[in-house]
Amino acid sequence: MTKAIGIDFGVVHAVFRKDFGGYLSNPTGYVFLTLFIGATAAAAFVRDEFFTRNLADLGLLNQVMPYILAFFVSALTMTAWADEARAGTDELLLTLPVRDSEVILGKYLGALAMYSIALLFSITHVIVLAYLGDPDPGLMASTYFGYWLMGALLVAIGLLASIVSTNPTSAFVLSVLAVAGLVFANSAGAGIVGGVGFGLAGALLWLVIRGDAKGAVWAGLIAGGVPLVLWALGVWSGFGDLLGSIALEDHFRSFGTGVVRLADLLYFAGGTVLALYLGVLLLGRRHW
């Protein structure tokens, strides 16, 4: 077994193979692939602006990619833990002598591999652009790199949602809402997004420190309500700027214009690691 940084990659590989195989042996996986390619193609080409813009790029797709991914990635990850619960293998998996981090990492890589395949197939869009015009190879590479990084972060968030709720529908809704929070963090509704974010952080703090779910609800309401009121009264002027700095679209924009920024790379990579670590933390709540 290959071990590094306290993680047994043999276990990670076994979980990855099981989950990735699950996606590919299930018709839903192929429906996902087809719908993803169809939706991204429609967003990129089946719009009047595509021809009036007369530019060989994926600028129109870039505008809506966060929304498309919010739904598709959430659909991909919503069954990550629900399938285990339905088959009754969740308890077996979590009582085996494996670390929670190894299970999470294996499941994450399985879902990420599936998303990567979908993205790989969508490279046909570049072929269409090359047929119609002369796309810049560097711009295409950076755009797709941005799509992949954004998807990698959203897969981690989706997985987190499926840990919180093993009901697939609830997991889907939670994941879409979490992604919507990141998408609308720099919009007029930033105060609501921030209030919910602070509320969740407060609830998590209470839950971990005290281990009491009922108190966590009140802690969440207070932690979310106070900044929301301060923002609404205009007392906390930097609230919008603070939230704007976590907006998904702002960190993706550069990739869509052919610029790769180290800070954006860190945002996506760091956000992914944070979401996965939070997943490990919440998965361990059965021991609390």
Partner: protein, 149 residues
């Protein structure tokens, strides 16, 4: 209070969050970036970068950019390049230079602001789309304002 494993995990998570946030912020301020396009679509010239670096922080520059959302096909590439350059200037400028992008439409408050405050008027240009030829009012103007805000 005796710390339990879950408390340690929470502390590690919080520390990780602080590290990610501060590194992202610090590197964002440093502006480490690479333009991977063949034609350098978002590259600022050396002279522009030098000019931006030389801005006195006590007299910051504010760029008010009034750019229409919809422009005729002939101007799409120019508009896209202008927006890219403005974003790059905003990123490179730090606290010395800020860019405000406004997307005015005919008769809007933003259009009034462009005309009344900065003298930026819409230009009526030929628009050939959908097999028809017509006129379209287009905003594509910048105003540079310097001094303490």
């Amino acid at each position: 209070m005796r710390l339990r494993p879950r408390h340690h995990q929470l502390l590690r998570f919080a520390a990780l969050g602080v590290i990610v946030a501060s590194l992202t912020y610090a590197i964002g301020r440093a502006g480490t970036r690479v333009d991977v396009t063949a034609e350098g679509l978002s590259r600022l010239s050396a002279a522009t970068e030098k000019l931006i670096r030389g801005i006195d922080k006590k007299r910051p520059v504010m760029v008010h950019a009034f750019i229409s959302d919809k422009v005729p096909t002939e101007y799409v590439a120019t508009r896209a390049r202008l927006l890219n350059v403005l974003h790059e200037m905003d990123q490179a400028g730090g606290s010395g230079l800020r860019v405000r992008i406004v997307r005015p439409t005919a008769g809007s408050k933003a259009a009034d602001e462009a005309i009344d405050d900065f003298g930026i008027k819409p230009r009526s240009v030929v628009n050939r789309s959908g097999g028809q030829i017509g006129k379209m009012d287009v905003f594509m103007g910048l105003a540079f304002v310097s001094g303490p805000h």
